[in-house]
């Protein structure tokens, strides 16, 4: 095993050390998946709340999330930078130029997208579904769960879009992550750096890897969707 690692450490691809390259890919995935996990855990219940509960200013909150879908990453980066910098509100946490700051940036960018798209999927569910659930004796909570289950493909599409936004993000991530080699350097920031250096071959190679990861995620989610439509499929209905 040690000789394998030593061998890998010595090998290079387009002038970049293979271990370093794998580290960049691994960190990219770790940061984006962490951000997506936070977004999903907080965003989906919020989307369900917005879709299923009536409260004052609900329309305004939904409009706000719709507007924030188009948040410019550099603006998010700038605000986060100011908040996380030594004199900022959260400066005491020493998060600037850490992977945690990058997770935070991606979370903020993907959050409105996932909430808005999931909310749209939930309100699109035919109201007859809720009535049908009521006629069969569903409690309010069971009705809500049924509507969420009916909207599952739309919600999944929202989560996929969120993951897409997170993995493709560069502006905010470079501002709060700093693109430090071996610590906060991810695929997108490496592509930006290598392009600046004129190393187009590596930038292109990383771009292709990024696309391949997106394709794999899409294929996996499509498979999940397909399974959801058959009995042998996933447990969405159990």
């Amino acid at each position: 095993m040690e000789s394998l690692i030593a061998g890998l450490a010595g090998s290079t691809i387009l002038g970049v050390n293979l271990v370093e390259l794998l580290g960049i890919i691994w960190l990219s995935l770790k940061v984006s998946v962490s951000a997506l996990a936070i977004v999903t855990l907080v965003g989906l219940p919020l989307a369900a709340f917005l879709a299923l509960k009536n409260f004052p200013l609900r329309g305004a909150v939904i409009n706000l999330f719709n507007t924030f879908m188009g948040l410019p990453p550099v603006v998010v980066g700038l605000f986060l930078y100011l908040i996380l910098s030594r004199r900022g509100l959260l400066g005491f946490m020493n998060l600037l130029y850490t992977p945690a700051a990058m997770v935070l940036a991606q979370t903020i960018l993907a959050f409105p997208l996932v909430v808005s798209l999931s909310h749209a999927a939930l309100v699109k569910v035919d109201p007859i579904i809720r009535q049908a659930a009521m006629t069969l004796g569903a409690t309010s909570r069971q009705q809500a769960v049924t509507i969420i289950q009916e909207a599952r493909y739309g919600i999944l599409a929202g989560v996929m879009a969120g993951l897409g936004r997170a993995t493709a993000e560069v502006g905010a991530v470079i501002m709060v992550g700093g693109n430090i080699a071996g610590y906060t350097r991810v695929m997108t920031t490496t592509i930006a750096l290598e392009t600046d250096k004129g190393n187009f071959a590596l930038a292109m190679a990383l771009g292709i890897i990024l696309l391949a990861i997106s394709l794999l995620i899409n294929l996996a989610l499509r498979a999940v969707q397909k399974m959801g439509r058959t009995e042998s499929g996933i447990i969405l209905w159990d």
Binding site: A132, M134, L136, W237
Partner: protein, 219 residues
Amino acid sequence: MGLTIEASHIFKAYNGHEVLKDCSFVFDRGGAYALLGPNGSGKSTLFRILSLLERPDRGQVRYLENGRFISADLNLRRRITLVLPRLGVFNTTVFRNAAYGLKLRGLAKGEIEARVNEVLDMVGLTKKRWQPALGLSSGETQRLGLARALAINPEVIFLDEPTASIDPVNIEIIEEIILTVKSRREATIIMITHDPGQAQRLGDHLLVMKNGKIMARGV
């Protein structure tokens, strides 16, 4: 076992338009009632109120058991059901649609399977139980609606036009199912139909509604 429904002086209006005007009557337990009337006469609104989906603006709907009133809570809601004219099929298999009400009640898997298999057999959908419910024909969808309702063993079953827009073969099958349920006398059946012949075939009591009022009744 068995519920009697007592509706007294029911009024209901939507946007100032009065849909139900002083409807009063009693549905005895175990009976089969057919409600006839033109479109817009208030039949479906009455069903939604009787099945506790909506409240009347004025008047009362009360359920009685052995002469005692029962409160309109979840327990009561789970003893009655309404089969809607546009069913609201869940985007899953036929089996899981039929099992829905039983899962809500937290029944054991084996019990659910046995009950669902029984009702799917009754409505002739056993062979299609693992197919997507949204792929069923309109006649099969109505049969699934009946299966979904019957699976929960309701004591009162409201059927809002169970044979509307379906072919004669499926109408015959659905009428057979309703007659089977009726013969067991385990549930009160109250149905809306536009077909007087069907009302006579399936109902023991006939009610005619017009302009939000019950205009005539007979046996």
